[in-house]
Symmetry: C2
Subunit: 287 residues, 2 copies
């Protein structure tokens, strides 16, 4: 399997992992988001993932590859299924393809190499989909991602790289925080997956719950406030401590779906951790 | 999306379609076959599907592309997940890529163009996986596919094409029958899918039941005898007539799984029908 194959399989295993409370998974659709749309998104994202896996002078920047992946995903799925996961996967795939090994140091070097062109492509990616984003810092309003392609001229004037743009959001957004801090949660999920037992999608479901317990989901915090995000994490922690009471986890999942609480950032990080775990040989031969 | 993308998505939608009684689906694993393995198989098959989508003088034969798809599938899934589906998809993908339109006539022309090299590759494909196959006609014992690569010299001596090999099995095997008779069931499934409503995986589940009702599954007949295959079809027909009693369909699915009755040929034909339906624009934008 190539890095693009492993990235695609990571997306598929993430959505198949169940239960991942509050998210679409093998057992649950949301009102406006179906399992089949994630399958289509994983197929549509592929040309962008392949672009992320290119190496050498002529390779497109990771932001450019990311935009291509989002465009293909949106065309195939008809909605936003895997925006955050693809934002994490783009530099991880590039690192797997170009560096000697997929380490936090090497992916940080890839991230630090992003350019203004990558930032511009990132803004254009918002034109393909409807993504939830909070308010930017006041002095960064011209760089508000909700302006989409309209922000590109501000990006170019200020000469900011994609990593500089994501630094603006790192406090509020768990995906941006991964980019700018060496992917700590991604590699923590990887360790859990590699050390786990059973089929990889089952390990991913347990890693999801553990990660949700470890840190409040920033998508939940942005949409429902910090109090709800902390409550969700506390409940995940209690369920992780009770280990293996799958009925209680399923009841939690049903409750989150009913309330429209969707810990999507945690799912994005699990997808990224799955990619690194597959890169390290976990889940070989269908395990 | 390219023809290879659509073939991959057809494999994913087929296994996601639920309920597909007796088969692995979104709701059910079998004892020795898990959902995640089908996802991995669909990713691993991709280089072979891309080979099937090549056109022009240098394009590999569809049998050669098929073998590559099976090898990649087996490596990724660790077992046989989609052998029959890939055997149907190879000529369909080639036709979609090379012919003006994906019609029974054009796919028949592709099938008639297969060579001895395609037949040899087909035999080698059996080296990758454990596939259930019944006894060949007595005079065709040297061509028994269970001999795998050992049969290649007999294939070459007799100068038989892949289509000639599959004609030997067309009475016993529904996939071989599709190849040699213009893919009638595949296109019948396509018509159902295109005319249906709701998400494509849901349409595929209904098409599976209708197709199982229409013709006894040859994999079930080969493993459990004609009587069981007919009983399964009769029960599918009764459920199709009762339309929409999903509890009864689920009970039927649970019973087949408990008895180890796996109508895999019908699933293969649904995957093929999904590919043609996607080629005709069904399920665009995640529908």
């Amino acid at each position: 399997m190539t890095p693009a194959d492993r990235a695609q399989l990571a997306l598929l295993y993430e959505v198949a992992a169940t239960p991942t409370p509050g998210n679409v998974d093998r057992e649950r659709d949301l009102a406006d988001l179906r399992f089949g749309q994630f399958l289509a998104g994983a197929v549509g994202a592929r040309p962008g993932l392949r672009a992320a896996a290119r190496t050498g002078e002529a390779a497109p920047g990771v932001g450019v590859a990311f935009e291509r992946a989002v465009g293909g995903m949106a065309d195939a799925a008809g909605t936003n299924t895997q925006f955050g996961a693809l934002l994490l996967l783009a530099p991880l795939v590039r690192t797997a393809a170009a560096a000697e090994s997929l380490t936090p140091e090497n992916v940080s070097a890839v991230v630090e190499g992003t350019t203004v062109a990558d930032a511009a492509a990132f803004y254009r990616a918002f034109e393909h989909v409807d993504v939830f984003v909070g308010d930017p810092p006041t002095d960064a309003e011209p760089l508000d991602v909700r302006r989409g392609a309209d922000a590109v001229s501000a990006v170019e004037e200020r000469g900011v790289s994609l990593t500089a743009v994501l630094e603006l959001g790192a406090e509020e957004d768990g995906v941006a925080a991964e980019w700018t801090r060496g992917f700590p949660r991604t590699f923590r999920v990887t360790d859990r997956l590699v050390d786990g037992h059973g089929p990889l999608p089952d390990r991913a479901a347990r890693a999801f719950l553990a990660e949700l317990a470890a840190e409040p989901d920033t998508l939940v915090a942005g949409r429902h406030g910090d109090r709800v995000a902390r409550e969700v994490s506390d409940r995940a922690a209690a369920l992780t401590a009770a280990d293996g009471d799958s009925d209680a986890v399923r009841a939690f999942a049903a409750d989150l779906v009913a309330r429209g609480v969707n810990p999507g950032t945690t799912a994005d990080i699990v997808a990224a951790g799955l990619f690194v775990a597959l890169d390290r040989g976990a889940g070989g031969g269908g395990a």
